[in-house]
């Protein structure tokens, strides 16, 4: 391992993978700019720390919501555009439950069930939060999961199963139709207004060099719930018979059938698990950001697709890592560019990374 050899190998790499080298260069320039900014006091350490923390939280939401999408993609071979509206459905059903449990007796039941449509009830005035009304939040999480499982199974039965053997485009277009139907049904029932859902949660400031990084109770709740669910999915896929069957089916559906794996039952299990995760992700997303509107899931879906594609579509680990990458990019990019371009930056990073590694970060790894 002489210097000459290292040099030759480096040159070879630069010639064969110019994209990677360019990317590394851009990274170095950005890092240098950041360090210079920190040194001159243009950026504060705590400010950057806050952006990173915010990015991690966003990444957890995107990653958690992406698992379901990736699962259905790997087993059913189509990109489900209704996934974003499953997220919204989970959010509305869960928050209606939370409002009901927290506000029963203090406000009109109808207004509570409609999550304060038209400004009839405010989550803040009910004191909703993980510390203020823990039971209401827990009930909301459970209901969001259960309702979304039901929704996913119902839609599969009525819309997707009859065309199971059709090609991916047919399924994809069907799912766009389902997405519109769901979204405007929810707008019709719950109204188009964006409402605040939570009271200000208690927070602690972590001291970082020159200031504080604020971490509130809802950040912590998100970390706990998302972490636990991701771990649970991992264990399910690696250790249980069902999880192995799901991976086998994602790998080779024809062989799965020949082997005697009941493929329709596995599909149903995928909708149950994917739907449950998606609903809970929707609930946690709203808990974390504190507002709820009928477009939330749809808007998040673009980031989820970016994350899932970046991670290598079909891999749940890719979805998690891709989610964190996209979330961090969207947050941290405001160090260098105006915040209006934060989303664009996330997509830009996705495109660039795919140019360098077209198969995604986790392609060829364990899927399901």
């Amino acid at each position: 391992m002489g210097i000459a050899e290292t040099y030759t190998r480096g040159r070879q790499f630069a010639v064969t993978r110019p994209g990677s080298v360019l990317l590394a260069l851009v990274g170095v320039v950005l890092l240098f700019d950041l360090l210079a900014g920190l040194a001159t006091g243009q950026h504060s350490f705590s400010g950057v720390g806050s952006l990173v923390w915010d990015g991690l939280m966003r990444g957890l939401v995107v990653g958690l919501a992406g698992i379901g999408l990736s699962m259905t993609y790997s087993i059913l071979n189509f990109a489900n555009f209704a996934h974003g509206d499953y997220i919204t459905a989970g959010a509305f059903s869960g928050w209606a439950t939370t409002y009901l449990v927290a506000g029963l007796g203090r406000a009109d039941v109808g207004a509570l069930l409609l999550v304060g449509a038209g400004g009839s009830v405010f989550g803040g005035s009910l004191g909703i939060g993980v510390t203020g009304t823990p039971l209401a939040v827990l009930a909301g999480i459970l209901v969001s999961g259960v309702v979304t499982v039901g929704l996913a199974l119902f839609v599969d039965r009525t819309a997707f199963r009859p065309i199971r053997d059709a090609d991916g485009i047919t399924l994809l277009i069907t799912s766009i139709g389902v997405a519109f139907a769901l979204r405007y049904l929810m707008q019709f029932v719950f109204g188009a207004s964006v409402r605040g859902t939570t009271a200000q949660p208690p927070a602690v400031g972590l001291y970082l060099v020159d200031g504080f990084v604020r971490i509130d109770a809802h950040d912590v709740a998100l970390v706990v719930v998302a972490g636990a669910l991701m771990l649970a999915v991992h264990l399910l896929l690696q250790l249980t018979k069902l999880g192995k069957a799901m991976r086998a089916m994602a790998d080779n559906e024809d062989l799965a059938q020949i082997t005697g794996i009941p493929t329709e039952r596995v599909v149903r299990a995928v909708w149950v698990i994917g739907g449950g995760l998606t609903g809970v992700a929707g609930y946690m997303f709203i808990l974390w950001k504190g507002t709820l509107g009928f477009n939330d899931g749809w808007l998040l879906l673009l980031l989820i697709f970016a994350a899932v594609i970046l991670g290598g579509i079909g891999s749940i680990y890719g979805a998690i890592v891709g989610g964190l990458a996209i979330g961090l990019t969207a947050s941290v990019s405001v160090i260098w560019i105006p915040s209006a371009f934060a989303r664009a930056a996330a997509f830009f990073v996705m495109i660039v990374l795919l140019l360098v590694k077209p198969e995604g970060l986790f392609s060829g790894r364990t899927t399901a």
Binding site: R247, A248, D251, N252, L255, I258, T259, G260, T366
Partner: protein, 260 residues
């Protein structure tokens, strides 16, 4: 390493004829009668008869496109059924789906993509026993004893193994349910020449332990040498049926199907 197992030809008549049903009625494990089948609207098989007795070793040979693999797939419920019947252990299994047929005691090893590449060796074997409540330890031990390499490589991803090892894994997976009939589609395809003999020895061993084998092989001469009985298929129809070595020594069969 090849202990060539000389087989006594089963008693029966020795002349090559166009008969399609063996003279051993009554002890048949698999009975295919007048099978018409294909893919979609395209008919491949016409009036195919085929029999496998318990513990018998039967090969199907014939030119490319003769419908050899289609016979296997049709038995296993993977084609469009257009006529005729498939009976297994006296029970009509015509038109059943693969996941139902596997319950009857038939194992199938397809030619291509026959392992779950991203699963480990052990997980592949566990999937072979999916329909059982738990992984049958004795069957697993038997597979490991038969293919020691699989035990060594238990936690390796199947897709990273060599072609021959993947073929062993595919057979091992099919043997997890201890089927009474094993369908093998071109088990020697894609193997390095050194390993072909080894693969045939292993199939002999599986058959010696009592599992009936129905095999499609490109390597027709070797397959006929080793089997009990052979079928020659052409254009989706039965052409010849007889004991393996009788077919092997028949001039017409040699000239038309075995390259002289």
């Amino acid at each position: 390493m090849s202990a060539d197992t000389e087989r006594d030809p089963p008693s029966g008549d020795g002349d090559v004829s166009r008969k399609t049903v063996p003279d051993r009625e009554g002890q048949s494990l698999l009975e295919v009668r007048g099978l018409d089948a294909g893919y979609g609207d395209l008919q491949i098989l016409t009036d195919v008869d085929m029999d496998v007795a318990g513990g018998e070793y039967v090969t199907i040979v014939g030119p490319n496109g003769a419908g050899k693999s289609t016979v296997m797939k049709s038995i296993f419920g993977l084609t469009s059924h257009m006529g005729g019947t498939v009976t297994f252990e006296g029970e009509d299994i015509t038109g059943l789906r693969p996941e139902e047929i596997i319950h009857e005691g038939i194992g199938y090893v397809p030619q291509n993509d026959n392992v779950f590449a991203s699963l480990t060796v052990r997980e592949n074997l566990e999937m072979g026993a999916y329909i059982l409540d738990s992984v049958p330890q004795d069957a697993l031990d038997a597979v490991f004893e038969r293919f020691p390499i699989l035990e060594e490589r238990q936690s390796q991803k199947a897709g990273t193994m060599s072609g021959g090892q993947q073929q062993m894994l595919a057979m091992g997976r099919a043997l997890m349910l201890e089927p009474s009939l094993l369908l093998l589609d071109e088990p020697s395809a894609g193997l390095a020449p050194d390993f072909v003999d080894d693969m045939f020895d292993r199939i002999d061993a599986i058959n010696d332990d009592g599992t009936a084998v129905l095999m499609v092989e490109q390597n027709a001469k070797e397959a006929l040498r080793r089997c009990d009985r052979g079928y020659v298929l052409a254009n989706g129809r039965n052409r010849y049926m007889d004991d393996g070595d009788v077919l092997l020594n028949d001039e017409q069969v040699r000239k038309d199907f075995l390259g002289g």
